[in-house]
């Protein structure tokens, strides 16, 4: 009896720390404030989306769903929404601010984050968010238009910075997600 018990414990004993985003990512929000993700938001539940402002379809639907979720949670709920750009090359803080204005995002408890490519790439890697350039078009005047294929994920993090659930962004059911947010701490 003891051999098996010890064997199992020894094998699993090393994995003693809970899942967490170990690394810290220095990013910038749409107001131009420097933030640490996820530390700057520790103590608040987070709803994360991954978007880019030139996205003609998916990101707009996901953002619309998050707006519905925001309304469903109500003003009392202090969950913080974060939309992180997949395209830091074009999506500066200014651009994100304009995007928020046009899409009707209330930035009091919903921030849009950008940063340098390397930092964001390692964050996406950590969170298993995938993107790639889908096609690029060069205009006559030398302007370049490109679009990204990307994962359609909305992640819910608890107040400790641990990812607790993920959803398909474009098919988000606000009631279902609100329930998860209520259950976690």
């Amino acid at each position: 009896m003891t051999v098996f018990a010890v064997g199992c414990t020894l094998l699993t004993g090393a994995c003693s720390s809970g899942p967490d985003l170990e690394n810290s990512f220095s990013l910038v929000d749409e107001q131009g404030n420097h933030v640490q993700f996820p530390e700057s938001y520790r103590g608040r539940k987070l709803v994360l989306s991954f978007i880019y402002t030139h996205c003609p379809d998916v990101c707009l639907t996901t953002t619309a769903r998050m707006i519905e979720l925001r309304e469903r949670l109500g003003e009392e709920n202090d969950a913080m929404f974060l939309s992180i750009t997949l395209d830091p090359r074009r999506d500066s803080s200014n651009v994100l601010r304009e995007y928020a204005r046009i899409q009707g995002i209330d930035t009091r408890n919903w921030h849009l984050l950008t940063g340098d490519k390397e930092t964001l790439d390692s964050l996406f890697d950590r969170m298993d968010v995938f993107y790639r350039t889908s096609f690029m078009q060069h205009g006559d005047d030398g302007t370049e238009v490109y679009f990204l294929d990307h994962s359609d994920i909305i992640a819910v993090m608890d107040s400790r910075g641990i990812v607790r659930a993920e959803f398909k962004g474009t098919e988000l059911d606000p009631d279902e997600v609100a329930e998860v947010i209520d259950e976690i701490s």
């Binding site: 707009l60 639907t61 994962s151």
Partner: protein, 299 residues
């Protein structure tokens, strides 16, 4: 895992009949009707259908564009209905608002939303419709000349082989205000991934019970299809309090020791891994809450 590909705007794009009309042209056939009509299509959602514009036997219904900044890209949607008795072909779309318009399709390839340009002209059979909606097909208005803010009207021209040009004036709207849902994968149940449960299982349970829940020979019982999992209280008890002594699973006897879930995992995390196991390996007929775990945990 990640790679970048760049496709130049080469022959592949420019050879398309359907696309890339670069300037908004005015046409002699300017018919732009807006007519409210009760849609009898769906009993569940009796929306008011609005004809944005018509040309010949082609009706363009409920066209709208998404808000976008000057220089950016807007997505456009509508339903195209052929009320004639001959097929017709959509040759192209243009707009005075922007430098070019293309038609793309979104395809979910293993969780990655992938955009594909339509290579072939859209042919609409008599009596049929072609619908562009979020998550499916969309018009891409690229290189906007001005900001398209919600509430504005955008000028769009659709050219058909038989019907000719339809001159349309479509509203710019935020997607949330349009009650359309992307049912590209209709019928699939939306499920949240129990990430916490999955991670705890991987860190603590998988070594003995295995990734596929098959267990190990005579030593560690299987979880997959296990009759043990049908008993909620007993399952919770084993995980938070451990188990030793003989136990029968699926008619087979095991006699080992299972350590309880370490105390670094709290009740919520215990419930998460329990629910992960029941969902993945059991019949998913019950789930546990942190309170259930608390109640069973031996002090």
């Amino acid at each position: 895992m990640r790679f970048h590909r760049e496709f130049g705007s080469g022959a592949g794009l420019s050879s398309l009949i359907l696309l890339l009309l670069l300037t908004g042209c005015s046409s002699e056939k300017k018919r732009n009707h807006g007519e409210d009509k009760q849609a009898g299509k769906s009993a569940a959602t009796a929306r008011t259908e609005k004809k944005t514009c018509i040309a010949g036997n082609i009706e363009i219904i409920d066209m709208w564009l998404s808000p976008a900044v000057k220089g950016g890209t807007s997505g456009g949607y509508c339903t195209i209905r052929n009320v004639g008795d001959q097929p017709d072909t959509l040759l192209g779309v243009s707009s005075a608002e922007c430098s070019s318009v293309q038609i793309h399709e979104m395809v979910d390839v293993k969780g990655v939303m992938t955009m594909r340009e339509l290579k072939n002209p859209v042919v609409i059979a008599p009596g049929e419709t072609f619908t562009l909606k979020p998550g499916g097909h969309h018009l891409m208005f690229m290189g906007l000349n001005r900001e398209l803010g919600a509430g504005r009207q955008a000028r769009v021209q659709m050219r058909f082989a038989n019907a000719g040009d339809a001159e349309c004036s479509a509203p710019v709207q935020r997607p949330g205000s349009v009650k359309q849902t992307a049912d590209a994968s209709s019928g699939e149940k939306k499920e949240a991934t129990n990430t916490m449960g999955m991670e705890v299982y991987a860190r603590y349970c998988r070594t003995c019970h295995r990734e596929d829940g098959s267990g190990v020979g005579e030593i560690f019982p299987p979880l997959a299809g296990s009759d043990f999992l049908k008993d909620k209280d007993r399952t919770i008890d084993v995980i938070v309090n451990g188990l030793s002594g003989p136990v029968t699973v699926n008619g087979k006897e095991y006699n080992g020791v299972m350590s309880s879930l370490p105390s670094i995992y709290d009740n919520e995390q215990a419930a998460a891994v329990i629910n992960y196991v029941v969902e993945k390996f059991g019949d998913g007929s019950w789930d546990a809450t942190a309170s259930d775990v608390e109640a069973i945990r031996k002090k």
